[in-house]
C-alpha cells in the first residue's frame, strides 16, 4: 500500500464527511423554494447532527445488542463503500478497492443491519419500515446489477477507479450510451436514497414512510450516525453518477492545486445535481407502494434495452 493510496483514504473520507450533510439540506432548500417557502438554512443538517450528538440515547427495554451496534456498523460500511467511489482524486486501485459489486454489497450490509434494528424494538413502525425496505431493495436489485453490468461492459472493467480513469481521460461530453446508463443510475439513486416517488424522506409519522420508519427507534448520537450515513450514501451515489457522466475537473495525480480545483468543480456539479433531485421530487407525487414494482420494471426494461443495443451494435 503506497503513500498516495493512504492519502486518498484520508482525503476521500474527510471530504465526504464534511460535505455530505450540505447536499441533504440543499435538496430541502430547493424543495422549499418550489413550494414558495424560504426553508431552513443550507447548514441545518450540520446543526441537527451537532444537536443530536449532545442528546441522550434511549433504548427500548426489548431491544438487543443489534440496536446498539447497528449505527456503528452502518456508518462504517457506508464509509468503506464511500472509499470505492473517488470524489475528487483517482489513485491506482489497490487490493480490489473499487470493485463495483463489493460496493453494492457494502450498501447491502448497512441495509441488513438497519432492517434488523428496525425489527429489534418490536414496534410496528420499525417492522413496517424494515419489511418495506427489504422488499423494495430486493426488487430494484436486478435493475441495479444490470446497470452495473452495462457499466462493466462499456468500460471493460469491474473497477470504479478504472471507469473514472477512462472517463477523465476521454473528457466530456459522455457518449450516448453513458447518458442512457446515467438515466438508469439516476433512478437507482432515487430508490436507494429513499426519495419521492419511492419513499418520502420528510414524513415521520405517516404510513407511507419506509426508511424513516426503520430508524424511528434510534435516538441521540445513534440517530446522528444514522442520519450522517444516509447523507454520505446519497453523496456517494451522486458522485458515482457525476464522475461517470461529467468527469471534468477530477484529479488523477496528487497535487494540492489539482485537488482544490477538483473539490470546487465537484461541489458545483453536486449542487446542480442536488437541485435537479429537488426539482424532480417537487414535480412528483409519492407513488403507492404496490405501484413501485411497475416503475422498477420500467427501469429494468430500459437498462436491459441499453445492454441489448450495446451488444448488437
Amino acid at each position: 500500500m503506497n503513500f498516495d493510496f493512504v492519502l486518498y483514504l484520508v482525503i476521500n473520507t474527510a471530504i465526504i464527511l464534511a460535505i455530505s450533510p450540505l447536499f441533504v439540506s440543499l435538496i430541502k432548500k430547493v424543495k422549499a423554494w418550489t413550494q414558495g417557502r424560504s426553508g431552513p438554512s443550507v447548514f441545518q443538517t450540520y446543526f441537527t447532527l451537532i444537536k443530536l450528538l449532545k442528546k441522550e440515547v434511549i433504548y427500548s427495554p426489548n431491544s438487543s445488542r443489534i440496536m446498539r451496534v447497528t449505527p456503528l456498523v452502518t456508518l462504517a460500511a457506508i464509509l468503506v463503500a464511500a472509499l470505492f467511489v473517488p470524489l475528487v482524486f483517482v489513485p491506482e486501485p489497490i487490493g480490489g478497492i473499487g470493485n463495483i459489486i463489493l460496493f453494492l454489497y457494502l450498501l447491502a450490509l448497512a441495509r441488513f443491519f438497519m432492517a434488523l434494528a428496525g425489527l429489534d424494538a418490536g414496534s410496528c413502525f420499525g417492522g413496517m419500515g424494515s419489511s418495506r425496505e427489504m422488499s423494495i431493495s430486493s426488487i430494484i436489485e436486478p435493475t441495479t446489477i444490470i446497470v452495473f453490468a452495462a457499466l462493466a461492459f462499456v468500460f471493460k472493467s469491474l473497477n470504479i477507479f478504472d471507469m473514472f480513469f477512462l472517463t477523465a481521460a476521454s473528457g466530456s461530453p459522455a457518449t450516448p450510451t453513458l447518458i442512457l446508463i446515467g438515466i438508469s443510475l439516476f433512478i437507482i439513486l432515487i430508490v436507494e436514497t429513499s426519495r419521492i416517488p419511492v419513499d418520502n424522506p420528510e414524513t415521520h409519522l405517516e404510513l407511507t414512510m419506509i426508511h424513516e420508519g426503520m430508524i424511528l427507534e434510534q435516538s441521540g448520537r445513534n440517530l446522528a450516525l444514522m442520519e450522517l450515513s444516509s447523507a454520505v450514501k446519497m453523496t456517494v451515489l451522486m458522485a458515482l453518477l457525476i464522475n461517470l457522466i461529467v468527469p471534468f475537473g477530477i484529479a488523477t495525480t496528487l497535487t494540492f492545486a489539482g485537488i482544490l480545483i477538483a473539490v470546487i468543480a465537484f461541489m458545483i456539479k453536486c449542487s446542480v445535481l442536488a437541485g435537479v433531485i429537488g426539482l424532480f421530487e417537487s414535480s412528483m407525487a409519492k407513488k403507492r407502494f404496490f405501484q413501485l414494482p411497475s416503475l422498477f420494471a420500467m427501469a429494468f426494461f430500459f437498462s436491459t434495452l441499453i445492454i441489448i443495443i450495446e451488444v448488437f451494435s
Binding site: T13, L53, K54, K55, E56, V57, I58, Y59, S60, P61, N62, S64, R65, L75, A76, A77, L79, G95, G96, I97, N99, I101, L102, Y105, L106, A108, R111, F112, A115, L116, L119, D120, G122, S123, C124, F125, G126, G127, S130, S131, M134, S137, S138, I139, E141, P142, I145, I146, A149, A152, F153, L158, G220, R221, L225, F290, P293, I307, I308, V311
Partner: protein, 647 residues
C-alpha cells in the same frame, strides 16, 4: 501414507457404525459418545489427508478389493475428490460434536444407538462415493448413502409427517439412482468400461442420452426445481443434525457427481451449459421465493438450500458455457466460484441447521411465529445464527459473499462470449441471480428478526434457556470457519495456487473495523454518554405487547403481494343446509391454502398414472392356477419359436 490414512479413517467410521449396533440393547451414553468420537477422529484424519492432496495437487489411485477382472472397488483421491472429502470432514466433525449433546435430549432410548450407527454409515458412504474411481462402485456407494439417509430421515417413524416425508424421500432418491444407473449403463455401452474415461468429443445421441440421464439423476438428489419437493418434507421431519448433514453435505455429493462427470467423462456442448444454467437460475429464484413464504424454520432452511444449490448450478452452467466457447480463464473462475460456494454453503447451512436445532430444542416449536426475543435468553446461539445469516445473505466480508462474488465476476466478464444470443441469456440469468441474492437477504432478516428479536411471541419462547455447551462448540467452529474463509478468501486461493480476480477481503475487513473504531473514538470524545433504558415510541399503546409486533408473516407480506403470481392460493367453500332447497344454513367451512403447484400439477399426475398402470398390470396376477399355467405355456411356445427362428 495417504492410502493408509484413508483406510484407517474408513475402519474408524466402520467401527463407529458397528459398535452401537452390537450394543443396541444398552441405553448408555458412552456408547453414543464413542460412536460420535469415531466420526470426529475419522473426519480429522480425512480432513488432514484431503488438505495434503489439495495443497500438493497430486492424485493417488488404489484398488481395495477386486473380486473379478473388470470390476473392482477402486478409489482415486485427486484434487476434486479431496476437496469434497474436506467438505465432508469439516461438516461431519462439527455435526458429530453437536450430536453428542443433542442426542441425549432426543427421545427414543435405545433407538438412539441406531441413529449413531446410521450417521456413521452415512458419512462412510459419502466418503466412499466421493473417492470412487469407477462408475460401478460410485453407484453402489451412492445406493448405500441413499439407504443410510433414508433411515436417518425415518428416525421419528411414529409420526405421520415423518412417514410421509420418508416415503417421499425414498421414492425420489430411488428415482435419482435409477437415472444415474441408466446413465452409467449408457456410458458402459459407449466406452465398454466402468472407469471415468474421457469420451471422444463426437456428439453422438448416446452421449447426450447419458448426460441427460445423469443430469436428471443428480438434479433430483440435489433438489433442483422441479425435483425439489423431497427437501421441504425430509428436512423438518428429521433430527436437526441429520438435516445439517443432508443439506450441508449430501446435496454437495450430487454436485460432485455432476462436476466429476462433466470434467472427466464428457466434452460438454454449449446447450448443456444453458440447460444447467437455466435449471440453476430457476431453482435459485423459486427456492428463495418459497423460502420467504415458509414459516417452519427448518422448511425455510430447506428451501434456502434449494436456492443455494441453484447458485452452485449457475456456476457449473457458466463453466460449461465458457468451456464450450473456449474461454478457459472464465471457465476456471466460474468452476472455482461454484465449488467455493459448495464449500461455503455446506458450512453456513449446517451452522444454521444446528443453531435452529438448538432453538427448536429450547422452544419446542418449529414455527417462527411462536418464537421471538430469543437473543436475550440465548445470546450465544443467536450470535452464531447471526453469523450464518450474514454469510447466507452474501454480505461482505463473509464467505457467502466471496463465492457469489466469483460467480458475479464470471457473469460480468462474459463480454468475451461471441454469440449475442448467449449474451442476452447470460444477462437475464445475471438479473435473476441478483434478485435471488437480494431476496435471500430479505428472507434472513425476516428469519433472524422473527426468531431472535423483539418480544417473545409464546410462553415457550419466553421460557427458553441457552443450550448446553456441547451444543455450542460445533456451530462455533463452523461460524469461525465462515468468517475466516470470507476474510482470507483471496489468500486461500493464492495458497491453493489459483489466481482469481477477487478483491482483498482482508483489507476490506480491516477498513470496516478501522472505520468502526474511528467512529466509536470520535463519538467517545464528542458525543454525550447518557443512556436511558425506557419505553420508546409505542404507537400510543399503554404497554407493548407481542401481539402488536410485526410478525414474520407481516414482514414478507409486501413480497407476497408482489410475487402473488407465484404464490397461487386455492379457496375452498363447503356449506351444509338443513333443508333440501338450501335455504336454512346449518354449518359451513372455508379455507384458503397455498397451491402446491409442483405437487398438484407434476407429482400427483405422475403418481396417479403409475398407479393406474400398476393396476392394469396387476390384472395379470389374478391368483388362478389355470391362468398361470397358461402364461407358462405361452412363454415356452414363444421361446421355442424365437430360438428356432434365430438359432
Amino acid at each position: 501414507m495417504i492410502v493408509e490414512l484413508f483406510i484407517l479413517s474408513l475402519v474408524i467410521l466402520l467401527a463407529g457404525s458397528i459398535f452401537p449396533l452390537i450394543t443396541a440393547s444398552f441405553d448408555r451414553r458412552f456408547i453414543r459418545t464413542f460412536s460420535f468420537s469415531c466420526t470426529i477422529v475419522a473426519s480429522l484424519l480425512l480432513g488432514m489427508l484431503s488438505l495434503m492432496t489439495l495443497l500438493k495437487g497430486d492424485s493417488v489411485f488404489f484398488i481395495l478389493y477386486q473380486p473379478i477382472p473388470g470390476f473392482s472397488l477402486s478409489f482415486v483421491i485427486d484434487r476434486l475428490a479431496s476437496f469434497f472429502l474436506f467438505i465432508i470432514a469439516v461438516v461431519s466433525s462439527c455435526v458429530a460434536l453437536y450430536f453428542t449433546g443433542y442426542i441425549e435430549h432426543e427421545n427414543g432410548s435405545t433407538r438412539r444407538n441406531l441413529l449413531c450407527s446410521c450417521t456413521n454409515l452415512f458419512v462412510l458412504a459419502m466418503v466412499l462415493v466421493v473417492a470412487s474411481a469407477n462408475t460401478i462402485s460410485f453407484f453402489l456407494f451412492w445406493e448405500l448413502m441413499a439407504g443410510a439417509s433414508f433411515f436417518l430421515v425415518m428416525y421419528e417413524y411414529s409420526q405421520r409427517d415423518t412417514i410421509k416425508a420418508g416415503i417421499f424421500y425414498f421414492v425420489m432418491t430411488q428415482l435419482s439412482s435409477l437415472f444415474i444407473l441408466l446413465g452409467i449403463i449408457v456410458l458402459y455401452i459407449i466406452s465398454g468400461s466402468f472407469a471415468f474415461l474421457h469420451l471422444s468429443p463426437v456428439s453422438a445421441p448416446l452421449i447426450t442420452l447419458a448426460f441427460l440421464a445423469l443430469f436428471l439423476g443428480f438434479s433430483i438428489k440435489a433438489g433442483i426445481i422441479p425435483f425439489h419437493k423431497w427437501l421441504p418434507y425430509a428436512h423438518p421431519a428429521s433430527p436437526s443434525p441429520v438435516s445439517a448433514l443432508m443439506s450441508g453435505v449430501m446435496l454437495k455429493i450430487a454436485v460432485y457427481g455432476i462436476v466429476r462427470f462433466l470434467l472427466d467423462v464428457f466434452t460438454p456442448d454449449l446447450w448443456w451449459g444453458v440447460l444447467i444454467l437455466a435449471a440453476g437460475a430457476a431453482s435459485a429464484v423459486l427456492g428463495v421465493i418459497y423460502a420467504l413464504k415458509e414459516h417452519d424454520v427448518k422448511g425455510m432452511l430447506a428451501y434456502s438450500s434449494i436456492e443455494n444449490i441453484g447458485i452452485i448450478f449457475i456456476g457449473v452452467g457458466l463453466f460449461v458455457i465458457f468451456t464450450a466457447s473456449s474461454l478457459p480463464l472464465l471457465a476456471t473462475i466460474s468452476l472455482l466460484g461454484a465449488l467455493f460456494h459448495a464449500l461455503n454453503h455446506s458450512l453456513f447451512k449446517s451452522l444454521l441447521f444446528l443453531t435452529s436445532g438448538s432453538v427448536v430444542y429450547a422452544t419446542g416449536t418449529r414455527d417462527i411465529e411462536h418464537m421471538g426475543g430469543l437473543s436475550r435468553s440465548m445470546p450465544v446461539t443467536s450470535a452464531l445464527f447471526f453469523v450464518g445469516a450474514l454469510s447466507i445473505a452474501a454480505l461482505p466480508p463473509l464467505n457467502g459473499f466471496a463465492s457469489e462474488l466469483l460467480i458475479f465476476i464470471a457473469f460480468f466478464s462474459s463480454v468475451t462470449v461471441v454469440d449475442p444470443l448467449f449474451k442476452v441469456i447470460l444477462f437475464i440469468s445475471l438479473a435473476l441471480f441478483a434478485l435471488t441474492s437480494a431476496l435471500s437477504a430479505a428472507c434472513f432478516v425476516k428469519a433472524f428478526g422473527s426468531i431472535f428479536l423483539a418480544l417473545p411471541r409464546s410462553q415457550e419462547s419466553a421460557a427458553a434457556r441457552e443450550v448446553p455447551r456441547t451444543m455450542l462448540i460445533g456451530p462455533a467452529i463452523l461460524a469461525a470457519a465462515c468468517i475466516l474463509l470470507g476474510v482470507f478468501a483471496l489468500q486461500i486461493f493464492t495458497i491453493v495456487g489459483f489466481a482469481v480476480p477477487l478483491p482483498d477481503m482482508l483489507l476490506v475487513g480491516l477498513l470496516l473495523l478501522g472505520m468502526a473504531v474511528l467512529t466509536y473514538g470520535a463519538l467517545y470524545f464528542t458525543a454525550s454518554h447518557e443512556v436511558r433504558i425506557s419505553e420508546t415510541w409505542g404507537c400510543g399503546t399503554l404497554s407493548q405487547k407481542a401481539s402488536s409486533e410485526y410478525s414474520g408473516h407481516g414482514f414478507s407480506e409486501p413480497l407476497d403481494i408482489i410475487f402473488s403470481a407465484i404464490y397461487r392460493t386455492r379457496t375452498k367453500n363447503e356449506r351444509i343446509f338443513f333443508d333440501q332447497k338450501n335455504c336454512i344454513f346449518k354449518e359451513g367451512r372455508g379455507e384458503i391454502r397455498l397451491l402446491k403447484v409442483f405437487e398438484e400439477y407434476l407429482y400427483r399426475p405422475i403418481a396417479q398414472q403409475s398407479m393406474r398402470l400398476a393396476k392394469e398390470v396387476s390384472r395379470f396376477q389374478n391368483g388362478c392356477l389355470d391362468t398361470y399355467l397358461f402364461y407358462v405355456f405361452i412363454t415356452v411356445i414363444a421361446l421355442i419359436i424365437f430360438l428356432g427362428w434365430f438359432a
